[in-house]
Symmetry: C2
Subunit: 504 residues, 2 copies
């Protein structure tokens, strides 16, 4: 009897997820191939799908089934498949039920339009053109936060953060960030005063886009992204979207006068994509077939981008091929020069192109601004000023315009407030997982130097991807690494890579 | 009061159309960019959307509203916007209500999978691999025909034909086709015996795909396809899909050793696309914002492909540009040589590459085979034999394999039985419309020679596109041309173009 109720429950949530995955296709198309004339109709389509998916995921029938299953034998073993699905369906159901249908549709419609206006404003560096949209979005997200609510002693931003990193609180995140800042800043200062200096010019030569695409694809395939079940396309802002079993889409962008953005962007999105491809296909649409949190998702992308992709061993394997593809730019540079160049550290404006040492400072800035926007302390119109003044104080440089300042990221236009902190959490998780994998598998760098990436990927699949949402993020990191969230492995790895390079 | 009921009715049908347009995006993506691994999940997505769209378009509430509006003042003036919408919503509602939800979902699911198997079978010329799918589809379409029903004295095939060419009957179509055949065969015989012969080699030289794409785009834009509201991509089987206001997608395929397929395919799909782009955007999702029938749709594509695109005047304008793009292939051939070559007539295997004289014979073959498949007279397994024997008797040549025989078209795998005859109807409509336009606008060829295509497009927009489904196909052709469906203008135009070329 509980089994039959459980199957009814899964049928309902799968149907809603299947509809949601239709929306993913439409969103991907909007970013990749849709002609500009289709913008308004696409917003209507996405709003309809979001509304119906929300309607379906909040059916009272789901609540009834959850009530009936809540203390059945299916929840006896806390980490069993059935108990996990029931626990997580309950959590998202309760959250969704708090959101009025009207608000869900409105957020979907407004953000679909706003992303288009953001893209235009960004390319014209015209914050004023985007300001009314940001204003609308902040109003809607404040409404969302109020509807969802938060624990006693918390703040409205918690309600938004919880969507991306379930269980995390603003105060906890702020504490972890502060601790991290205290170790990052001295490292950064030491680097600024170092005598060794990487060649900046090396990566800013001419790298033809077609050859960049070739190298990016080869590397993505080599580390394990399955192109029979995915694609790589070009967009303004790189992303990864898993449509469901057998179909995961990556995007990147090519800058012919800078090597790193497309290549490391491709590795980054491949890391996300391999997580999506590692989820249980038979569990699609249920918590067991879904990623844990954005922080855990980001741990996968950052691991492949940085811990693997910026290691010397990775380039022992790939540098000859890179030299072959870019003979003019690379033939007279050594592996060591190249490795130092891709690990150059210095304050810069664009988050997605930031080095690993300064990256988390970019996140802390956004985290603090978002909290203030949601609390009402910061008005949307005042964002450029707040951004620039904080940026100057953290980085010692000031954005010349909003394109390299507060307009650089798509997130706010897409309504993704509460999302940014997961990037920095991901960096910390990545280092913890990597250290645990190495403890079990032995010298990973030795494997990379021989082009062997499957041992690491298989380890990630077994310990992380396969489990879907069996464990919450904070428990997963404990189960897998034996320790709770910490900046120690991250700082160890940063120190181990950057101190020798810079001779400090 | 009726106005408020009418608005409720429109809201319901628009919502259903909006959902249907989401399915169009997913179908387009499946043909253009989806990795093969996504096939099964995509079938599930499309089946869900088709099922829900069907559910929404058959809501009893729509029936109630139609009943209440049926004899209201909104239907007093037969061709008024309100009367037209009520009439046509009633027609599709009644049809849809006859189809069980289960059958709709099953057809969507099976055809989504079958198209994939068709594509594989086609590339391996392996009918046996496709046969079980065809068998399933015929069974489902027979079920559909039985559920929909047909007029007394008719046949099950009428029920399928009616979906694409509302109001047409198999017997009427057969009669028109017989009359056409009696005039086409003598023309073809005369051409076979003619002394003048076009250069076959001219169009079979090397035409680089990139330059073909450039010329195709330039021509599509020149005749009036708006690329701000549309795209052109590459697929195995060319098609046009209008997603809704501001977004219409065309596809084509490039054969580097044959000029005509991509170029005239692009003009053809542009003709469809300009019809879609000419529909009233404010009437999206209602009959007034929808195309009349596939026959009328095809009249637009065939007009631009053949009556415009294969005219000497069109190439007076475009040939210099073609010579510039393909200097190796074309610089030593005259405009007259080229014009004769693109109008070469001879029996050939592939419908979409057939000349205008033999084209309708390809359709008649499919029409007769489909009727027999639906009546049960022909078994799916026997299709290759039936195809080849009829082909040999009509064309005097025999397909060497099923890729150039019964596997060439996507239609059956997509469940589109009853669709083919609309191509030949479209040819006749096109000639009738073209003659009427010329009678009103003066010498169109003189305009084409100067690159002026807007007068014709504007005429089509005003007389055809703008009206959506105001008139049924058979009435539209009477309203616009003053005569009912006829093969006379088509035969006049064929004789006028081909007799001088062939010197007969």
């Amino acid at each position: 009897m509980p089994q039959s109720l459980y199957q009814q429950l899964l049928t309902l949530v799968r149907k809603s997820a299947l509809l949601g995955s239709c929306g993913s296709v439409l969103s991907w198309d909007r970013e990749t191939y849709m002609p500009t004339g289709g913008n308004e109709h696409r917003a209507n389509q996405l709003s309809l799908l979001a509304g119906v998916a929300h309607e379906w995921s909040t059916l009272p029938k789901i609540g009834e089934l959850l009530d009936q299953l809540g203390d059945s034998e299916l929840t006896d073993a806390a980490d069993s498949d059935t108990a996990v699905n029931i626990r997580e369906i309950r959590r998202t159901y309760d959250r969704s039920r708090k959101l009025p249908q009207r608000l869900v549709e409105e957020i979907s419609r407004v953000t679909a339009l706003a992303q288009h206006h953001w893209a235009e404003a960004r390319s014209n560096s015209d914050f004023r053109a985007f300001a009314p949209w940001l204003e609308q979005i902040i109003t809607l997200k404040r409404e969302e936060a109020a509807a969802v609510g938060f624990a006693e002693g918390g703040e409205p931003y918690d309600a938004l953060l919880d969507e991306y990193e379930p269980g995390a609180s603003s105060a906890d995140v702020a504490a972890v960030f502060d601790a991290l800042r205290q170790e990052v800043v001295p490292l950064l200062d030491a680097i600024k005063g170092a005598r060794n200096v990487p060649s900046r010019a090396l990566l800013s030569q001419h790298f033809p886009a077609a050859q960049q695409a070739m190298l990016g694809r080869e590397a993505a395939a080599a580390i394990g992204f399955d192109f029979r079940k995915g694609r790589l396309d070009v967009t303004t802002h790189p992303f990864c979207s898993g449509f469901g079993p057998g179909d995961c889409r990556l995007t990147t962008r090519y800058d012919e006068s800078f090597f790193s953005s497309a290549f490391f962007g491709t590795l980054h999105e491949s890391g996300h994509g391999m997580y999506e491809q590692g989820l249980r296909e038979d569990a699609f649409g249920t918590p067991l077939g879904s990623s844990v949190s954005l922080g855990i998702h980001e741990s996968q992308s950052r691991m492949w981008e940085n811990l693997v992709g910026r290691s010397r061993a990775f380039w022992q394997h790939f540098y000859p091929r890179a030299q072959q593809l870019f003979p003019d730019a690379l033939s007279s540079s050594s592996l060591d020069d190249f490795h130092f160049a891709i690990n150059a550290v210095s304050p810069s404006f664009i988050r997605v192109e930031a080095d690993e040492v300064t990256y988390n400072l970019h996140i802390m800035l956004r985290f603090d601004l978002e909290r203030d926007l949601i609390s009402g302390k910061l008005k949307p119109n005042d964002v450029p000023e707040a951004w620039n003044s904080r940026f100057t104080s953290d980085f010692g440089i000031t954005p010349a315009n909003d394109t390299e300042g507060c307009l650089q990221d798509i997130h706010w236009s897409a309504g993704l407030l509460g999302y940014f902190p997961t990037y920095a959490l991901g960096n910390m998780y990545a280092s913890q997982f990597y250290a645990a994998a190495e403890a079990e598998l032995g010298d990973l760098q030795q494997m990379f130097a021989k082009g062997e990436f499957m041992p690491l990927l298989d380890w990630l699949r077994e310990h992380i991807h396969y489990h879907g949402q069996r464990f919450t993020a904070s428990r997963l990191v404990e189960v897998v690494t034996g320790m709770s969230l910490s900046n120690k492995p991250l700082m160890q790895q940063l120190n181990a890579r950057f101190r020798p390079l810079y001779g400090i």
